[in-house]
Subunit: 233 residues, 2 copies
DNA sequence: GCAAATTAATGATTTATTCAAG
DNA sequence: CTTGAATAAATCATTAATTTGC
Protein backbone atom coordinates (compact mmCIF):
# COMPACT_ATOMS: atom_id res chain seq x y z
CA UNK A 1 0.00 0.00 0.00
CA UNK A 2 1.73 2.90 -1.01
CA UNK A 3 0.27 5.58 0.70
CA UNK A 4 0.16 8.41 -1.35
CA UNK A 5 -2.23 10.37 0.45
CA UNK A 6 -0.72 13.60 0.15
CA UNK A 7 -3.43 13.88 2.43
CA UNK A 8 -2.94 16.87 4.22
CA UNK A 9 -2.48 20.25 3.99
CA UNK A 10 -3.63 20.76 7.31
CA UNK A 11 -3.84 23.31 9.77
CA UNK A 12 -3.63 21.69 13.04
CA UNK A 13 -0.63 19.57 13.08
CA UNK A 14 0.90 19.81 16.41
CA UNK A 15 -1.24 17.15 17.72
CA UNK A 16 0.21 15.93 20.83
CA UNK A 17 -2.76 14.99 22.60
CA UNK A 18 -5.62 15.40 20.33
CA UNK A 19 -6.23 13.86 17.10
CA UNK A 20 -8.94 15.74 15.46
CA UNK A 21 -10.74 14.47 12.52
CA UNK A 22 -11.89 16.10 9.39
CA UNK A 23 -15.19 17.77 9.58
CA UNK A 24 -16.66 18.35 6.18
CA UNK A 25 -18.41 21.58 5.42
CA UNK A 26 -21.96 21.46 4.17
CA UNK A 27 -20.86 22.41 0.70
CA UNK A 28 -18.34 19.63 0.73
CA UNK A 29 -20.98 17.17 1.74
CA UNK A 30 -23.18 18.37 -1.05
CA UNK A 31 -20.44 17.77 -3.52
CA UNK A 32 -19.54 14.39 -2.16
CA UNK A 33 -23.13 13.27 -2.06
CA UNK A 34 -23.57 14.51 -5.56
CA UNK A 35 -20.71 12.53 -6.84
CA UNK A 36 -21.71 9.43 -5.00
CA UNK A 37 -25.25 9.77 -6.04
CA UNK A 38 -24.35 10.24 -9.61
CA UNK A 39 -22.92 6.80 -9.62
CA UNK A 40 -19.31 7.37 -8.88
CA UNK A 41 -19.32 5.42 -5.69
CA UNK A 42 -15.72 4.36 -5.77
CA UNK A 43 -13.55 6.93 -7.42
CA UNK A 44 -10.18 5.95 -8.64
CA UNK A 45 -7.22 7.61 -7.23
CA UNK A 46 -6.87 10.30 -9.80
CA UNK A 47 -10.51 11.06 -9.49
CA UNK A 48 -10.15 11.26 -5.79
CA UNK A 49 -7.49 13.83 -6.25
CA UNK A 50 -9.72 15.91 -8.44
CA UNK A 51 -12.51 15.64 -5.97
CA UNK A 52 -10.22 16.69 -3.19
CA UNK A 53 -9.20 19.74 -5.13
CA UNK A 54 -12.75 20.69 -5.65
CA UNK A 55 -13.58 20.25 -2.02
CA UNK A 56 -10.67 22.36 -1.00
CA UNK A 57 -12.54 25.35 -2.19
CA UNK A 58 -14.64 25.01 0.88
CA UNK A 59 -12.13 23.95 3.44
CA UNK A 60 -9.02 21.95 4.07
CA UNK A 61 -9.28 18.34 3.15
CA UNK A 62 -6.93 15.57 2.12
CA UNK A 63 -7.09 12.79 -0.37
CA UNK A 64 -7.37 10.30 2.41
CA UNK A 65 -10.39 12.02 3.81
CA UNK A 66 -12.08 11.71 0.48
CA UNK A 67 -11.11 8.11 0.20
CA UNK A 68 -12.43 7.32 3.65
CA UNK A 69 -15.59 9.21 2.99
CA UNK A 70 -16.41 7.11 -0.02
CA UNK A 71 -15.45 3.96 1.74
CA UNK A 72 -17.74 4.71 4.63
CA UNK A 73 -20.41 5.95 2.38
CA UNK A 74 -20.45 2.74 0.43
CA UNK A 75 -20.35 0.63 3.50
CA UNK A 76 -23.14 2.42 5.30
CA UNK A 77 -25.19 2.60 2.23
CA UNK A 78 -24.99 -1.12 1.85
CA UNK A 79 -25.77 -1.75 5.46
CA UNK A 80 -28.79 0.47 5.42
CA UNK A 81 -29.92 -1.23 2.32
CA UNK A 82 -29.58 -4.62 3.90
CA UNK A 83 -31.51 -3.51 6.91
CA UNK A 84 -34.32 -2.16 4.91
CA UNK A 85 -34.24 -5.17 2.75
CA UNK A 86 -34.47 -7.35 5.78
CA UNK A 87 -37.20 -5.54 7.57
CA UNK A 88 -39.61 -5.17 4.81
CA UNK A 89 -38.76 -8.06 2.76
CA UNK A 90 -38.63 -6.94 -0.71
CA UNK A 91 -41.31 -5.79 -2.85
CA UNK A 92 -40.93 -5.46 -6.48
CA UNK A 93 -38.21 -3.28 -7.47
CA UNK A 94 -38.99 -2.77 -10.96
CA UNK A 95 -36.48 -1.22 -13.07
CA UNK A 96 -33.36 -0.07 -11.55
CA UNK A 97 -31.83 -1.86 -8.73
CA UNK A 98 -29.39 -4.09 -10.26
CA UNK A 99 -27.56 -5.21 -7.28
CA UNK A 100 -26.40 -8.20 -9.04
CA UNK A 101 -22.95 -7.74 -10.12
CA UNK A 102 -20.87 -10.57 -8.99
CA UNK A 103 -18.47 -11.79 -11.50
CA UNK A 104 -19.75 -11.58 -14.91
CA UNK A 105 -18.49 -8.55 -16.61
CA UNK A 106 -15.08 -7.31 -16.16
CA UNK A 107 -14.97 -5.60 -12.91
CA UNK A 108 -12.22 -3.27 -13.25
CA UNK A 109 -10.43 -2.66 -10.15
CA UNK A 110 -7.20 -1.13 -9.61
CA UNK A 111 -6.61 1.52 -7.30
CA UNK A 112 -4.33 2.41 -4.62
CA UNK A 113 -5.41 2.58 -1.17
CA UNK A 114 -4.50 5.57 0.71
CA UNK A 115 -3.00 4.94 3.95
CA UNK A 116 -3.00 7.96 6.00
CA UNK A 117 0.34 9.22 6.71
CA UNK A 118 -0.60 12.47 8.03
CA UNK A 119 -3.55 14.05 9.39
CA UNK A 120 -5.93 16.31 7.84
CA UNK A 121 -7.88 18.93 9.42
CA UNK A 122 -10.78 21.05 9.46
CA UNK A 123 -11.02 24.58 10.49
CA UNK A 124 -10.78 27.46 8.21
CA UNK A 125 -13.36 30.06 8.65
CA UNK A 126 -15.38 29.10 5.73
CA UNK A 127 -18.55 30.57 4.65
CA UNK A 128 -21.14 28.28 5.82
CA UNK A 129 -23.89 29.21 3.59
CA UNK A 130 -26.51 27.94 5.78
CA UNK A 131 -26.13 26.93 9.28
CA UNK A 132 -28.01 23.90 8.49
CA UNK A 133 -31.18 22.83 7.06
CA UNK A 134 -30.88 19.94 9.23
CA UNK A 135 -31.64 17.60 6.54
CA UNK A 136 -28.99 16.29 4.44
CA UNK A 137 -30.07 13.74 2.08
CA UNK A 138 -28.00 10.74 2.04
CA UNK A 139 -28.53 9.16 -1.09
CA UNK A 140 -29.44 5.69 -1.30
CA UNK A 141 -27.65 2.74 -2.31
CA UNK A 142 -27.34 2.70 -5.90
CA UNK A 143 -24.64 0.52 -6.91
CA UNK A 144 -24.01 1.20 -10.41
CA UNK A 145 -21.66 -0.86 -12.30
CA UNK A 146 -18.68 1.17 -12.49
CA UNK A 147 -16.65 0.56 -15.38
CA UNK A 148 -16.85 4.19 -15.16
CA UNK A 149 -15.57 5.60 -18.25
CA UNK A 150 -16.08 8.79 -16.62
CA UNK A 151 -15.56 11.91 -18.39
CA UNK A 152 -15.01 14.84 -16.36
CA UNK A 153 -15.16 18.05 -18.08
CA UNK A 154 -15.04 21.45 -16.79
CA UNK A 155 -17.66 23.79 -17.79
CA UNK A 156 -15.73 26.78 -18.60
CA UNK A 157 -16.61 29.09 -21.37
CA UNK A 158 -13.28 28.45 -22.89
CA UNK A 159 -13.71 24.81 -23.06
CA UNK A 160 -15.98 24.08 -25.80
CA UNK A 161 -15.13 21.43 -28.14
CA UNK A 162 -18.36 21.27 -29.89
CA UNK A 163 -21.22 21.07 -27.60
CA UNK A 164 -21.65 23.76 -25.19
CA UNK A 165 -21.70 23.11 -21.56
CA UNK A 166 -25.34 22.81 -21.22
CA UNK A 167 -25.42 19.70 -23.19
CA UNK A 168 -24.06 18.11 -20.18
CA UNK A 169 -25.87 17.38 -17.04
CA UNK A 170 -29.20 18.99 -17.43
CA UNK A 171 -32.29 17.84 -19.14
CA UNK A 172 -35.51 19.69 -19.63
CA UNK A 173 -38.74 18.31 -18.37
CA UNK A 174 -42.13 19.82 -17.87
CA UNK A 175 -43.30 20.07 -14.33
CA UNK A 176 -46.85 21.12 -13.81
CA UNK A 177 -46.76 22.51 -17.26
CA UNK A 178 -43.65 24.52 -16.76
CA UNK A 179 -40.42 23.68 -18.43
CA UNK A 180 -37.73 23.06 -15.90
CA UNK A 181 -34.15 22.09 -16.11
CA UNK A 182 -33.21 19.30 -13.85
CA UNK A 183 -30.01 17.42 -13.48
CA UNK A 184 -29.86 14.20 -15.29
CA UNK A 185 -29.62 11.28 -13.01
CA UNK A 186 -31.01 10.71 -9.55
CA UNK A 187 -32.91 13.71 -8.37
CA UNK A 188 -33.03 14.96 -4.85
CA UNK A 189 -36.59 16.01 -4.31
CA UNK A 190 -35.89 18.26 -1.40
CA UNK A 191 -32.93 19.91 -2.97
CA UNK A 192 -34.95 20.51 -6.04
CA UNK A 193 -38.33 21.47 -4.71
CA UNK A 194 -37.90 22.23 -1.07
CA UNK A 195 -38.62 20.50 2.19
CA UNK A 196 -42.25 19.67 1.66
CA UNK A 197 -43.29 16.12 1.23
CA UNK A 198 -43.95 15.99 -2.46
CA UNK A 199 -44.71 13.36 -4.99
CA UNK A 200 -43.88 13.39 -8.64
CA UNK A 201 -46.40 11.87 -10.98
CA UNK A 202 -45.82 10.75 -14.48
CA UNK A 203 -48.16 9.16 -16.91
CA UNK A 204 -46.55 5.90 -15.99
CA UNK A 205 -47.41 6.39 -12.36
CA UNK A 206 -45.82 7.75 -9.24
CA UNK A 207 -42.08 8.01 -9.41
CA UNK A 208 -40.47 5.90 -6.74
CA UNK A 209 -38.18 7.62 -4.34
CA UNK A 210 -35.73 5.96 -2.08
CA UNK A 211 -35.56 6.41 1.62
CA UNK A 212 -33.54 9.53 1.31
CA UNK A 213 -35.84 11.34 -0.96
CA UNK A 214 -34.11 10.67 -4.21
CA UNK A 215 -35.90 9.81 -7.35
CA UNK A 216 -33.54 7.09 -8.22
CA UNK A 217 -34.25 6.85 -11.84
CA UNK A 218 -33.56 9.89 -13.86
CA UNK A 219 -36.43 11.91 -15.13
CA UNK A 220 -36.84 11.54 -18.82
CA UNK A 221 -35.97 14.33 -21.05
CA UNK A 222 -38.97 16.09 -22.48
CA UNK A 223 -41.44 14.28 -20.30
CA UNK A 224 -44.10 15.92 -18.24
CA UNK A 225 -44.49 15.45 -14.55
CA UNK A 226 -46.90 16.63 -11.96
CA UNK A 227 -45.69 17.72 -8.64
CA UNK A 228 -48.13 17.49 -5.79
CA UNK A 229 -48.15 17.34 -2.07
CA UNK A 230 -48.08 13.89 -0.66
CA UNK A 231 -51.46 13.20 0.82
CA UNK A 232 -50.57 9.92 2.39
CA UNK A 233 -50.64 10.72 6.01
CA UNK B 1 -26.13 10.17 -42.57
CA UNK B 2 -28.83 11.92 -44.28
CA UNK B 3 -31.44 10.33 -42.53
CA UNK B 4 -34.48 11.57 -43.41
CA UNK B 5 -35.13 14.19 -45.84
CA UNK B 6 -37.01 11.76 -47.88
CA UNK B 7 -39.77 11.42 -45.51
CA UNK B 8 -43.06 11.66 -47.06
CA UNK B 9 -44.94 13.07 -44.28
CA UNK B 10 -45.01 16.63 -44.88
CA UNK B 11 -44.49 19.75 -43.21
CA UNK B 12 -46.49 22.05 -45.16
CA UNK B 13 -48.47 23.46 -42.52
CA UNK B 14 -51.52 25.21 -43.47
CA UNK B 15 -52.08 24.94 -47.09
CA UNK B 16 -52.02 28.42 -48.34
CA UNK B 17 -51.28 28.03 -51.89
CA UNK B 18 -47.73 29.03 -51.56
CA UNK B 19 -45.34 26.52 -50.42
CA UNK B 20 -44.22 28.03 -47.20
CA UNK B 21 -41.64 26.74 -44.95
CA UNK B 22 -42.19 25.23 -41.59
CA UNK B 23 -42.65 27.72 -38.87
CA UNK B 24 -42.06 26.12 -35.54
CA UNK B 25 -44.32 27.03 -32.68
CA UNK B 26 -42.75 28.35 -29.54
CA UNK B 27 -43.50 25.14 -27.73
CA UNK B 28 -41.85 23.21 -30.48
CA UNK B 29 -38.78 25.36 -30.24
CA UNK B 30 -38.66 24.82 -26.54
CA UNK B 31 -38.78 21.14 -27.05
CA UNK B 32 -36.21 21.11 -29.81
CA UNK B 33 -33.86 23.31 -27.86
CA UNK B 34 -34.36 21.17 -24.86
CA UNK B 35 -33.47 18.06 -26.72
CA UNK B 36 -30.49 19.59 -28.37
CA UNK B 37 -29.41 21.12 -25.17
CA UNK B 38 -29.61 17.91 -23.30
CA UNK B 39 -26.99 16.42 -25.51
CA UNK B 40 -28.91 14.79 -28.25
CA UNK B 41 -27.51 16.95 -30.97
CA UNK B 42 -27.80 14.48 -33.76
CA UNK B 43 -30.75 12.19 -33.32
CA UNK B 44 -30.96 9.04 -35.29
CA UNK B 45 -33.86 8.39 -37.48
CA UNK B 46 -36.00 6.62 -34.97
CA UNK B 47 -35.34 9.32 -32.48
CA UNK B 48 -36.22 11.91 -35.03
CA UNK B 49 -39.53 10.24 -35.51
CA UNK B 50 -40.25 10.33 -31.83
CA UNK B 51 -39.33 13.94 -31.69
CA UNK B 52 -41.57 14.71 -34.60
CA UNK B 53 -44.46 12.98 -32.92
CA UNK B 54 -43.86 14.97 -29.85
CA UNK B 55 -43.76 18.19 -31.78
CA UNK B 56 -46.94 17.40 -33.61
CA UNK B 57 -48.87 18.09 -30.49
CA UNK B 58 -48.21 21.71 -31.16
CA UNK B 59 -48.50 21.87 -34.89
CA UNK B 60 -47.86 20.08 -38.11
CA UNK B 61 -44.31 19.10 -38.66
CA UNK B 62 -42.46 16.48 -40.62
CA UNK B 63 -39.50 14.32 -39.93
CA UNK B 64 -37.53 16.26 -42.47
CA UNK B 65 -38.17 19.48 -40.65
CA UNK B 66 -36.79 17.98 -37.53
CA UNK B 67 -33.80 16.66 -39.32
CA UNK B 68 -33.06 20.01 -40.90
CA UNK B 69 -33.60 21.79 -37.65
CA UNK B 70 -30.94 19.74 -35.95
CA UNK B 71 -28.60 20.07 -38.85
CA UNK B 72 -28.90 23.83 -38.74
CA UNK B 73 -28.77 23.92 -35.02
CA UNK B 74 -25.51 22.04 -34.91
CA UNK B 75 -24.02 24.20 -37.55
CA UNK B 76 -24.98 27.42 -35.88
CA UNK B 77 -23.91 26.19 -32.54
CA UNK B 78 -20.48 25.44 -33.86
CA UNK B 79 -20.23 28.80 -35.50
CA UNK B 80 -21.26 30.55 -32.36
CA UNK B 81 -18.74 28.60 -30.42
CA UNK B 82 -16.02 29.56 -32.80
CA UNK B 83 -16.96 33.15 -32.37
CA UNK B 84 -16.87 32.95 -28.67
CA UNK B 85 -13.68 31.09 -28.84
CA UNK B 86 -12.19 33.70 -31.05
CA UNK B 87 -13.26 36.59 -28.96
CA UNK B 88 -11.99 35.34 -25.75
CA UNK B 89 -9.10 33.45 -27.05
CA UNK B 90 -7.84 31.96 -23.96
CA UNK B 91 -4.92 29.88 -23.32
CA UNK B 92 -5.19 26.39 -22.13
CA UNK B 93 -7.46 24.09 -23.92
CA UNK B 94 -5.92 20.89 -24.33
CA UNK B 95 -9.46 19.93 -24.28
CA UNK B 96 -9.73 20.46 -27.92
CA UNK B 97 -7.55 17.56 -28.49
CA UNK B 98 -10.03 15.42 -26.80
CA UNK B 99 -12.82 16.56 -28.92
CA UNK B 100 -11.05 15.37 -31.97
CA UNK B 101 -11.35 11.89 -30.83
CA UNK B 102 -14.94 11.49 -31.53
CA UNK B 103 -15.96 11.47 -35.09
CA UNK B 104 -16.20 7.86 -35.64
CA UNK B 105 -19.40 6.13 -36.20
CA UNK B 106 -20.84 6.18 -32.85
CA UNK B 107 -21.74 9.69 -32.12
CA UNK B 108 -20.71 9.49 -28.63
CA UNK B 109 -21.72 12.44 -26.82
CA UNK B 110 -20.16 14.06 -24.05
CA UNK B 111 -21.18 14.39 -20.65
CA UNK B 112 -20.92 16.80 -18.18
CA UNK B 113 -19.32 18.87 -15.88
CA UNK B 114 -22.06 18.91 -13.48
CA UNK B 115 -22.91 16.53 -10.81
CA UNK B 116 -26.31 15.82 -9.58
CA UNK B 117 -26.67 16.41 -6.01
CA UNK B 118 -28.42 17.43 -3.03
CA UNK B 119 -29.23 20.23 -0.81
CA UNK B 120 -27.35 23.19 0.01
CA UNK B 121 -28.87 26.26 1.24
CA UNK B 122 -31.64 27.91 -0.44
CA UNK B 123 -34.12 25.94 -2.36
CA UNK B 124 -36.79 28.17 -3.39
CA UNK B 125 -40.12 26.82 -3.69
CA UNK B 126 -40.82 25.01 -6.74
CA UNK B 127 -40.89 25.73 -10.29
CA UNK B 128 -41.87 29.10 -11.23
CA UNK B 129 -45.24 29.31 -12.53
CA UNK B 130 -45.99 31.12 -15.60
CA UNK B 131 -48.72 32.45 -17.61
CA UNK B 132 -48.26 30.47 -20.61
CA UNK B 133 -49.09 26.99 -19.80
CA UNK B 134 -49.98 24.65 -22.39
CA UNK B 135 -47.49 21.99 -22.01
CA UNK B 136 -48.50 18.68 -20.84
CA UNK B 137 -47.75 15.12 -20.79
CA UNK B 138 -45.90 13.83 -23.64
CA UNK B 139 -45.79 10.27 -23.10
CA UNK B 140 -43.39 9.29 -25.68
CA UNK B 141 -40.50 7.55 -24.20
CA UNK B 142 -37.73 9.78 -25.03
CA UNK B 143 -34.53 8.01 -25.13
CA UNK B 144 -31.52 9.94 -24.38
CA UNK B 145 -28.11 8.86 -25.07
CA UNK B 146 -27.39 5.42 -24.07
CA UNK B 147 -24.02 5.29 -22.69
CA UNK B 148 -23.98 7.97 -20.23
CA UNK B 149 -24.69 7.26 -16.73
CA UNK B 150 -22.08 8.78 -14.75
CA UNK B 151 -21.24 12.29 -14.47
CA UNK B 152 -18.33 13.87 -13.01
CA UNK B 153 -17.00 17.14 -12.29
CA UNK B 154 -14.04 19.07 -11.83
CA UNK B 155 -11.30 20.37 -13.79
CA UNK B 156 -10.35 19.45 -17.22
CA UNK B 157 -9.60 15.87 -17.80
CA UNK B 158 -6.17 16.45 -18.97
CA UNK B 159 -5.01 16.42 -15.55
CA UNK B 160 -3.42 19.61 -15.21
CA UNK B 161 -3.26 18.34 -11.83
CA UNK B 162 -2.93 21.34 -9.83
CA UNK B 163 -4.45 24.62 -10.49
CA UNK B 164 -7.39 24.38 -8.40
CA UNK B 165 -10.25 25.41 -10.50
CA UNK B 166 -11.05 28.28 -8.33
CA UNK B 167 -7.63 29.68 -8.61
CA UNK B 168 -8.23 30.54 -12.17
CA UNK B 169 -11.17 32.70 -11.53
CA UNK B 170 -13.73 29.99 -11.15
CA UNK B 171 -16.05 29.51 -8.28
CA UNK B 172 -18.30 26.64 -7.45
CA UNK B 173 -21.99 27.18 -7.05
CA UNK B 174 -24.95 24.88 -6.95
CA UNK B 175 -27.33 25.07 -9.82
CA UNK B 176 -30.47 23.08 -9.52
CA UNK B 177 -28.75 21.06 -6.90
CA UNK B 178 -25.77 20.44 -9.04
CA UNK B 179 -22.30 21.61 -8.31
CA UNK B 180 -21.08 23.73 -11.14
CA UNK B 181 -18.00 25.68 -11.87
CA UNK B 182 -18.62 29.10 -13.17
CA UNK B 183 -16.30 31.96 -13.85
CA UNK B 184 -16.19 34.57 -11.22
CA UNK B 185 -17.60 37.86 -12.29
CA UNK B 186 -20.28 38.65 -14.81
CA UNK B 187 -21.68 35.52 -16.30
CA UNK B 188 -22.71 35.09 -19.89
CA UNK B 189 -25.85 33.08 -19.64
CA UNK B 190 -25.81 31.86 -23.18
CA UNK B 191 -22.17 30.99 -23.20
CA UNK B 192 -22.65 29.11 -20.00
CA UNK B 193 -25.94 27.40 -20.44
CA UNK B 194 -26.72 27.62 -24.09
CA UNK B 195 -29.00 29.63 -26.27
CA UNK B 196 -32.19 29.08 -24.40
CA UNK B 197 -33.75 31.96 -22.63
CA UNK B 198 -33.04 31.07 -19.06
CA UNK B 199 -33.50 32.73 -15.75
CA UNK B 200 -31.40 32.23 -12.68
CA UNK B 201 -33.10 32.34 -9.35
CA UNK B 202 -31.51 32.74 -6.01
CA UNK B 203 -33.08 32.89 -2.61
CA UNK B 204 -32.68 36.61 -2.90
CA UNK B 205 -34.72 36.68 -6.06
CA UNK B 206 -34.21 36.65 -9.77
CA UNK B 207 -30.73 37.55 -10.84
CA UNK B 208 -30.83 40.56 -13.10
CA UNK B 209 -29.43 40.17 -16.55
CA UNK B 210 -28.34 42.99 -18.75
CA UNK B 211 -29.22 43.46 -22.37
CA UNK B 212 -26.41 41.25 -23.50
CA UNK B 213 -27.50 38.34 -21.44
CA UNK B 214 -24.95 38.77 -18.73
CA UNK B 215 -25.66 38.30 -15.11
CA UNK B 216 -23.91 41.41 -14.04
CA UNK B 217 -23.26 40.55 -10.49
CA UNK B 218 -21.09 37.57 -9.87
CA UNK B 219 -22.60 34.45 -8.48
CA UNK B 220 -21.54 33.76 -4.96
CA UNK B 221 -19.25 30.92 -4.20
CA UNK B 222 -21.07 28.07 -2.55
CA UNK B 223 -24.54 29.48 -3.00
CA UNK B 224 -27.44 27.69 -4.59
CA UNK B 225 -29.24 28.83 -7.69
CA UNK B 226 -32.17 27.60 -9.62
CA UNK B 227 -32.12 27.65 -13.38
CA UNK B 228 -35.34 27.60 -15.33
CA UNK B 229 -36.51 28.38 -18.77
CA UNK B 230 -37.92 31.81 -19.19
CA UNK B 231 -41.40 31.37 -20.49
CA UNK B 232 -42.15 35.02 -20.86
CA UNK B 233 -42.49 35.30 -24.51
C1' DG C 1 -30.58 29.81 28.85
C1' DC C 2 -26.41 27.01 30.05
C1' DA C 3 -23.55 23.33 30.38
C1' DA C 4 -22.74 18.56 31.91
C1' DA C 5 -24.38 14.07 30.41
C1' DT C 6 -26.01 11.16 27.01
C1' DT C 7 -26.86 9.65 22.40
C1' DA C 8 -26.41 9.54 17.42
C1' DA C 9 -23.41 10.28 13.33
C1' DT C 10 -19.66 9.60 11.09
C1' DG C 11 -14.45 9.96 10.32
C1' DA C 12 -10.58 6.77 10.79
C1' DT C 13 -8.53 1.89 11.76
C1' DT C 14 -8.26 -2.65 11.68
C1' DT C 15 -9.54 -7.25 10.08
C1' DA C 16 -11.48 -10.47 6.73
C1' DT C 17 -12.69 -11.71 2.12
C1' DT C 18 -12.27 -11.89 -2.75
C1' DC C 19 -9.94 -12.26 -6.96
C1' DA C 20 -6.30 -12.80 -10.13
C1' DA C 21 -1.49 -13.39 -11.29
C1' DG C 22 2.48 -16.30 -10.78
C1' DC D 1 -1.07 -22.80 -3.20
C1' DT D 2 0.83 -18.40 -2.26
C1' DT D 3 0.71 -13.68 -2.56
C1' DG D 4 -0.57 -8.93 -3.27
C1' DA D 5 -4.13 -5.59 -4.42
C1' DA D 6 -8.46 -3.99 -3.63
C1' DT D 7 -12.31 -3.43 -0.85
C1' DA D 8 -16.03 -4.89 2.21
C1' DA D 9 -17.16 -5.61 7.11
C1' DA D 10 -16.50 -4.63 11.60
C1' DT D 11 -14.75 -1.78 14.95
C1' DC D 12 -12.80 2.18 17.37
C1' DA D 13 -12.93 7.09 18.42
C1' DT D 14 -14.38 11.82 18.13
C1' DT D 15 -17.46 15.16 17.08
C1' DA D 16 -22.31 17.05 16.68
C1' DA D 17 -26.95 16.72 18.50
C1' DT D 18 -29.89 16.12 22.01
C1' DT D 19 -31.43 15.66 26.51
C1' DT D 20 -31.39 16.80 31.22
C1' DG D 21 -31.02 19.29 35.69
C1' DC D 22 -30.43 23.53 37.44
Amino acid sequence: MDDDSSSSNQSCERNETVRSRWNPKPEQIVILESIFNSGMVNPQKDETVRIRKMLEQFGAVGDANVFYWFQNRRSRSRRRQRQIQASLSAASNSIEEQSARSSSGGAIQFQTNFVPSSVSSSSLGGVVGNANDGLFPFSGPMEIDQNSSITSILCSPTDNSNLNCSSSGFITVFINGVAALVPRGPLDMKAMFGPEDLVLYHSSGVLPVNEYGFVVQSLQHGESYFLVLNMNH
